[in-house]
Symmetry: C2
Subunit: 258 residues, 2 copies
């Protein structure tokens, strides 16, 4: 692992608890972001408001400058969602962009231990800090729209009506986040109880311990009432099958680790 890239630790991204579960590895963090169907994006409150803004958005890691870059290389985070006039103003009012924190979390299992205190989740989570700007270049915007569309269903872009027309280009806003620091946390394995409980037959005999694996599962696709395409295309059916198999394999493996 000595050759792999890591994000710099900053005071606010350094994980202070459960050190062994923390990662700053670029590939691990980018993978968690890309495996998350929703990201939560937070930025500072308005002057008169004590509550930070927090928005669910769709996002994925990518590099417009080096489109073939792998998950283990430096990437930006491209975000799509409702971009309010306030975000627009904030993201364009400074040359650096709007400071945002981005969270990605996947639950992989409910970890049931002898005592509530030792209960946990198996999970993967990542937090990114960076500066968000609106993508202005039409070329980069179309590239990012394709990247994000294909992050939801691989190969969907070219199987839909493209390119976007000028009204669609105008109404779509893409945020590009230059990531300055990031950290990830992972928990996997079964329950870990303390000797004070594992040595008590009255407790161990009556308390089931183990993991309920959790997966985000795609069900059988349902054609819309206006669908005219003959049958479910192979690229969708394949993705549903492969994504489900991958998610289940991950969660079951995480549950069976010590």
């Amino acid at each position: 692992m000595a050759d792999s890239l890591t994000y710099p630790k900053t005071k606010s991204t350094t994980v202070n608890r459960y050190h062994t579960r923390a990662t700053y590895d670029v590939q691990a963090i980018h993978s968690i972001v890309n495996d998350s169907s929703v990201l939560h994006v937070s930025f500072a409150p308005d002057a008169e408001d004590p509550f930070p803004a927090i928005l669910p958005m769709i996002g994925t890691m990518g590099s417009y400058e080096y489109p073939s870059a792998g998950l283990d290389e430096p990437l930006d985070c491209y975000l799509h969602g409702y971009v309010s006039s306030r975000i627009m103003r904030l993201a364009t009012s400074s040359p650096q962009g709007l400071p945002v924190s981005i969270a990605a979390t996947k639950v992989d299992g409910l970890v049931l231990a002898l005592t509530p205190n030792a209960h946990s989740y198996n999970y993967r989570s990542a937090i990114l800090h960076g500066y968000a700007r609106i993508v202005e270049s039409a070329e980069e915007k179309v590239w990012a729209m394709e990247l994000i569309t294909n992050s939801v269903v691989p190969d969907r872009w070219r199987h839909s009506r493209v390119p976007p027309d000028s009204a669609e280009m105008q109404s779509t806003k893409i945020l590009k986040v230059k990531v300055t620091a990031a950290s990830g946390k992972t928990r996997e394995g079964g329950p870990h109880d303390e000797a004070k409980d594992t040595t008590r037959d009255d407790v161990t005999g009556k308390t089931w311990v183990g993991v309920v694996p959790v997966v985000e599962k795609f069900c059988e696709p349902i054609a819309g009432p206006d669908n005219k395409a003959a049958e479910l295309p192979k690229y969708i059916a394949d993705y549903v099958g492969e994504a489900n198999a991958k998610a289940e394999a991950y969660a079951l493996n995480a549950a069976r680790l010590p």
Copy 2:
């Protein structure tokens, strides 16, 4: 619906887009929070840091004062997770508590339309604004620990080793958030395309449109290596079956709506 409680609209919680999908209904918002296995909690950055804090936490709505209160009644949000010394300090340094924003989001389906621009998710999301304080009273803390444990698996608390001992009471921190404003958003139904695309046979003939329903699914529970309890208890098996059936019914129904 005239008799149901609603959260007050504030400038920052008023939903400015897709008005028809917005809700301020107390029961709808509390249900989204309780159906979410993870909440994202955000609060303002430190003075020297432009990035808001954002943390995944486990949480549930409840009322210690009126434990039998329903989801349609005023409730607090109880949170469990890693409470840093910074949160401790911030949540105790003002009588009002630490201003936090809490996001709950569930993805119910991938909505695939004729054009990328009309792609969407079926989802339910809620944002709460409120003031977080550390629960100091031992009685309320144990009550909240039971509430949160049973929110993960109903009835788990009394089937595990309780009550918590003094070391567990000391190491567990519970945040209680007094909610001052909240909003929710829901999207359900199939793809909605525009006439410019639906009238083009070359587009409709080659583009499959519909919904891939998405559910958070519990797999078959896996006993830990140290499990001594004879078989999977009925309360866990029942919950796994019922939660999966409920989640799938919701996602399939959402996919089939117009």
